[in-house]
Amino acid sequence: MAFSILGLLAVVLEFFRGWLWFIGLFLLLDFALTFYFLKRSAGCKTCWVLPAYVTVGFGVFIFVLAMITLPTITKSSWAALSGIDYLALIGASIGFGTLFAILAFPFMLNLLGIRSRPRPTSQATRTETPPQPQTSPQPQPAMAEKIAD
């Protein structure tokens, strides 16, 4: 019996039907967090690499967790697996890992994605330059003369 792609999509829709409200809520939260991050990060130095690394790490964690637990969750065991089952298990675990990583990324962006806060307006309009810390241990000769004067 041939299953079309659209037929499979219809089955997936039915599979998640009871959870659609939750998935929708989570996606809304993700969109809101992404929007919030973009708003917060205006004028700030942002960092995408660290959240991306942490998200990938989280995805890998879910992948490993799924690999270990899926047979048991489905009332089966590792002993029951053979041949194509391992590929299916790996495929499903990659799917779970990817899904959770995508869902977690906006959270990670907000937690780890902003490196520095924008300077307050009063600081930006200050005319006085703040005293620079001395970097060299010994004064330059010209400067030493000035001090002697």
């Binding site: 019996m1 041939a2 999509l9 599979f15 089966s76």
Partner: protein, 456 residues
């Protein structure tokens, strides 16, 4: 339209745009965006309802008898694919059971709640639902009569009644016995499957003699008696009580499964698991007080003691259809709806079609067969309405995720020629795998619901 009218229209549009603060260019941009959105929306609908765009206009009166898997699937498809038809569904039942899950409830894998649903969720709004049962078919006058005496005329009839389980065909057996005195049966209703699990649970713990039967003749899900047997054995191994029980499988003939490769597998597998096969043992009578079962063997009646017996009663078309002109009169399909096995059109009444268990066809009393039959039956009814040639599209496809152990199954799919027809070529139909088990346990219920909604 004259050039002057055209100019007036253009001026009016320009004035309206100016009034709303839009330039003509913006207006065109918005229009094309709206068209894209509308197209996308229509496309999404089309994705899930691929045939909606080519609805056939008709004022035909169509009656569908039965609101089971086949009846509901036909109703959703016909309602979508016909424009203006007067569609009536006749069935008293409000509850809908996911029957392929009965085996899982009967062996403690699922809870009963997972099977329960309501027909109301699937009946399309443009279908008239009569809450009654058909008592009489009058195909010569294109009419059915319900149990309350209501006559319903039709131009086209879809028979999708399912079948009836005849408990009383076994002496001493009744539906009320199930769940008592060691008598179990996972067929027919969720509460019976639940009661059966209580007995199986006890049998798995305590052991004893277990008899597993199957009847003569056509039956729905012919794999279920085998699945129950193997799942009980698997449960015993799981709990470490296998040595406490003696297990016997008693088929009515000399085969275990119609598909030869699967039959070979089972012939080897059962003895390896110390499940003794007794060929030619149709169940004839049961004595629940004495806990004995009598089998009509070629050598005469044989009575066996049991602690647990899984009774699978003989099945037939519902009496109302069996006694009607629509029923086949000749062997091997006597009593079933007399349809052409490829087009599913009635052989004598061309405005009558059949879908599901009721059809008198060689194989295919499964939900998987319903999935394959309904599109063909519906298409051919519509072709008849249009006066077109029929499509001999049903090849006998049926499927059985044959559960061999807890956590393992073989996905067996075959056709009238008993040739394997795997939907997913990478899943071997000859070996036990985890993937078909996951499909049975997790995915097929979703596929079933998509089928009821006419999406697959």
């Amino acid at each position: 339209m004259s050039s002057q009218d055209e100019k007036h229209a253009k001026d009016a549009v320009t004035r309206a745009l100016k009034h709303s603060g839009l330039s003509r260019r913006d207006f065109l941009k918005l229009s094309s965006g709206g068209a894209l959105l509308a197209g996308a929306a229509a496309g999404t609908g089309g994705m899930l309802y691929p045939a909606a765009a080519r609805a056939v206009p008709t004022n035909a009166r169509i009656v569908i008898v039965g609101a089971g898997a086949a009846g509901l699937s036909c109703a959703t498809r016909l309602a979508r694919e016909l424009d203006g038809a007067d569609i009536t569904l006749i069935d008293r039942r409000q509850d809908h059971y996911y029957q392929p899950g009965l085996t899982l409830v009967g062996t403690g894998v699922w809870q009963t709640e997972k099977l329960l649903d309501r027909n109301r969720r699937y009946v399309p709004s443009n279908v008239n639902w009569i809450h009654d049962m058909v008592a009489e078919y009058d195909p010569d006058n294109n009419r059915v009569v319900t149990e309350t005496g209501r006559a319903v005329d039709y131009d086209f009839l879809m028979v999708a009644t399912g079948l009836q389980v005849n408990y009383t065909a076994i002496d001493g057996m009744s539906e009320n016995l199930i769940g008592h005195r060691g008598v179990g049966c996972v067929y027919d209703k969720p509460e019976l499957a639940e009661r059966t699990w209580q007995l199986i649970d006890q049998f798995v713990n305590e052991g004893g003699v277990g008899l597993f039967t199957r009847p003569r003749g056509d039956m729905k899900c012919a794999g279920a008696p085998l699945k129950v047997t193997m799942l009980v054995e698997s449960r015993m191994k799981e709990r470490g009580t296998r040595d406490r029980a003696e297990m016997h499988y008693l088929p009515p003939g000399t085969g275990l499964f119609s598909q030869p490769h699967t039959d070979d597998f089972l012939r080897k597998n059962f003895p390896e698991r110390s499940i003794h096969i007794h060929w030619d043992h149709p169940l004839k009578a049961i004595d629940p007080e004495r806990k004995t079962a009598t089998f009509a063997t070629p050598l005469g009646d044989e009575t066996l003691d049991y602690d647990f017996i899984h009774v699978v009663p003989p099945m037939s078309a519902p009496d109302s259809l069996r006694n009607s002109e629509l029923a086949a009169r000749e062997i091997p399909f006597t009593g079933w709806l007399e349809v052409d096995r490829f087009t599913l059109q009635h052989k004598r009444y061309p405005n009558v079609f059949g879908a599901g268990d009721i059809n008198g066809v060689p194989i295919g009393k499964t939900a998987a067969s319903v999935k394959a039959q309904v599109p063909v039956a519906v298409e051919n009814m519509i072709r008849t309405i249009q006066g077109n040639q029929l499509n001999p599209g049903y090849d006998g496809y049926t499927s059985c995720p044959l559960i061999t152990e807890l956590g393992q199954a073989i996905l067996v799919e075959f056709d009238y020629d008993l040739k394997m027809k795997p939907s997913f070529p990478f899943i071997s139909p000859y070996q036990e795998h985890w993937v078909p088990w996951v499909m049975k346990d997790r995915l097929l219920l979703a596929a079933y619901r998509a089928m009821l909604r006419g999406r697959i």
